[in-house]
Each structure stands twice: as C-alpha cells, then as structure tokens.
Homo-oligomer: 229 residues x 2
C-alpha cells in the first residue's frame, strides 16, 4: 500500500495540484494521513484522512471535534515527548499499516526549526530504515533519501535541477554520468552539491557512497518574486 | 563597520520592513552588499549597494549594465567554482572591508539545495571563524550561530520561540535557565531542539557545548495559510 501524508507547514508552499493528488490517491485506495494541523487542511480540501496523528492543541475545539467525528484512526501524541508527531506517524504507517512508501506534503517552509526537524528526523536510527521509501514534495522541490550503497537516480520531468545534500559526514561519494561528476568525495560535515543536471537525452545517472545519508533534492525555479517597483 | 547583504532568495520571504532596514543602514554608513540577483533587488528597492558579488549570468544585460554603472565595487565570480557567491562575499566583506558583523536577507526559502548551501556554508572551515558574527533574517525566522563554548542567548521581542539546531555531531550540549532544559546531550548526527522559550520575566538564558556548531533559530508564527474554502 502507498500512503500520502499532509503536515502542518505553510499551505502557500503546496504544489498546485495537491488536492487532485490526494483525491486520486484516495480513489486508488492509498492510505491518507494527516499530521496535527495537516489533518484539518485535508478536511478543508474535502478529503477525509484514514489516519491522523498529533496533539492537536493548536486546533479549535470545533475543528478537533470535526476530525474526531470523521476519522477512523486517531493517534493522540503527548505534547512533551521524545518523538515528534511526524516520527510517531511514520512508525504507525510503516509498522501498523505496513505501507510500502510514503509521500509527504507540508514538511517545508515556515519556521526553520520545524523544517529542519522534519528533514533531520530521517537521521533518527528508528526512522533511517524507512528513509529510502520517503518522498517530500513542495511547490518547487522533491526530496528523496539514500542510505549508503550504489543507486540509480531517475529524471523527473518537471524538475531541471538536482542537488545532493550529505546530511552528515560522508565517505567516498561518487556522482557518475551526470552533468557535474564527483569522485570519491569524503567530508566530515554536511555539504550540498547543488544544481546538478541530467545529461541531454539521459533519463538517469548513478550515485554511490560508503557511509552517511544523502538527500537528493530535485528542484525547479518558481516565480515567487513580488513586483518591487 | 556593520554590513547588510541581500541574496537572491524568494522576495515573498523578506521581512516586511526590509526596505526601511536597508535605508537606515545606508544612512548610518553601514556596508550594503548584493549577491547575484540580490544586487538587482536592492536597486529595485532604491538602494545602491556598495559591493556586489556574483556571476550575474541569470540577469538580463540591461540589469547587469545598471548594476555596473552604479556600484563602486563589483566582484565577478566564476560560474564553475569551489566557492559559492555567498562564500566569496563573506571573504570579501570580512577580509577586505574588515566588517564587524553581517546581517543576511534572502538566504532562505525557494530551492532547498540553495537554502541548505547557505545554511551549511557556516561549516566551511574558512567561514566558521566568522560564524558568530552572522545573522540570517527572513519573514519569520532569525538565525544566529555559535561555536563551542558557553554563550548567553538574549530574547528578541518579536520572536516567541527559539530552537537550537546542532548542524553536526555535538558533545555536551546544555541549555540552562530556559523553559525546556537540556543536560549534557551528545549526539552523532544533526538534530533540532525546537520550540524552546524564555522563562517569563527573563531576557536571557545560557547554552554551552564542547564540540560542534549550533544554529539558534528564533521564530514566530506568520499567517501564511491560504483560504482553503
């Protein structure tokens, strides 16, 4: 089973077709998950989630009541806790629902401590084993995660750029067959290799590394600039 | 001398009073710096920067000509390079201009590989010595950086939350006298301690750590949510 989750990040960073993506997923029988305020956003989009996780303490009573009256599986988290709502959601989805992969919206933007919490939860040893089955999507980025080994990276049409972020120290990182190659890079601290591209006419290239964790960040330019005049 | 720099990130994430901040800085004789497209944004705000750095290859010819005709010090970077434009700017500002501290706007949001490049350049050994003199500001976040040692963290009125992000592995991290305390935390990978707060009536608390690099992320909630109905 596939799953799609909506977190509580700024809605102005959603991809434009988010409602259609959730509708199509639900029609296909995929698992729909809301995390905290993301649960309410789903209902406002006309999508009843199958599972919601959160402490919900930022929601108004009537909004929480609406969720409690409509959602089949509600997991209440403890506001003072070691696990974030999103980590609890991942545990629930992969263990209790045995999902195969999960696409997450609403994880980026807004408060930077929240964004980094979402990005770095991948490094939590309890989450790391799911990392290769997670995808983050926002208005102009798609992020996939790689554990050590050799991996094929596949082109996604709407994203002209692909950057690689080593989230920790890394050993023997290679980028093979992309526009910008890299050979046996090792580094003791996080670093980004930004703005790589697929070679013309090529749909994939390879990466490999011996130790660490890589986030592959597909991205596109979006005209979000105010008229300054 | 103080300095203020504008990078090329999305303008819709600027703090609302950015034009007033740059005008006041320029009136005080502070150094005004544009990096790549940020140089053009400054001119569109009616501010002629003192120094610009970039390869400028995303600018139209007439826009580059306007910059070249108005700015006293232009540093052209090589598009294929080890140093990013922003790293080159930091070197120039701290070494050639001997600035004391630097506030950076336009470093967040948009393409996540760009944002992480800006955040993680702090870890570059050539930049790390300037880290404690840098501040990033956007619409809802203010970030300061700490090298190992004991530090006083001071309240900033408009930000109710403060999170601490260990950008690398960390040793013996303590948070003393804040709402959520932490004692002798050590960890092998990056982690965020989000949503801390100053105690009521207190304007400061202490942090200390023996090894690593901490980003202190001051933040506030901003209503950036679409009307979904």
């Amino acid at each position: 089973m596939k799953a799609y989750a909506l977190l509580g990040g700024p809605t102005d960073l959603w991809p434009q077709n988010i409602q259609a993506q959730f509708r199509q997923a639900q029609a296909q029988g995929d698992l729909i998950i809301g995390v905290d305020r993301g649960s309410l956003f789903l209902e406002e989009l006309g999508i009843i989630p199958d599972l919601v996780v959160g402490d919900f303490d930022s929601l108004q009573k009537k909004d929480l009541a609406q969720i409690e009256n409509s959602v089949a599986d509600i997991r209440y988290s403890n506001p003072v806790k070691d696990w974030t709502d999103t980590e609890l959601m991942l545990q629930t989805a992969f263990r209790d629902y045995a999902i195969q992969n999960l696409t997450i919206f609403g994880a980026t933007g807004g408060r930077i401590d929240h964004f980094l919490t979402n990005l770095w939860m991948i490094l939590n040893p309890a989450i790391r084993s799911f990392a290769s089955r997670l995808t983050f999507i926002d208005q102009q980025n798609l992020i996939k995660f790689f554990n050590p080994g050799r991996h094929t990276v596949t082109k996604k049409e709407i994203y002209p750029y692909i950057g690689f972020a080593s989230l920790t120290s890394i050993r023997d990182f290679n980028i093979i067959g992309a526009r910008y190659k890299l050979k046996n890079y090792s580094g003791d601290y996080p670093r980004v290799f930004a703005s790589n591209e697929f070679l013309t006419g090529h749909e994939q290239f390879e990466i490999s590394f011996a130790k660490g964790m890589i986030a592959a960040i597909y991205s596109k330019d979006v005209d979000r600039f105010h008229n300054l005049s």
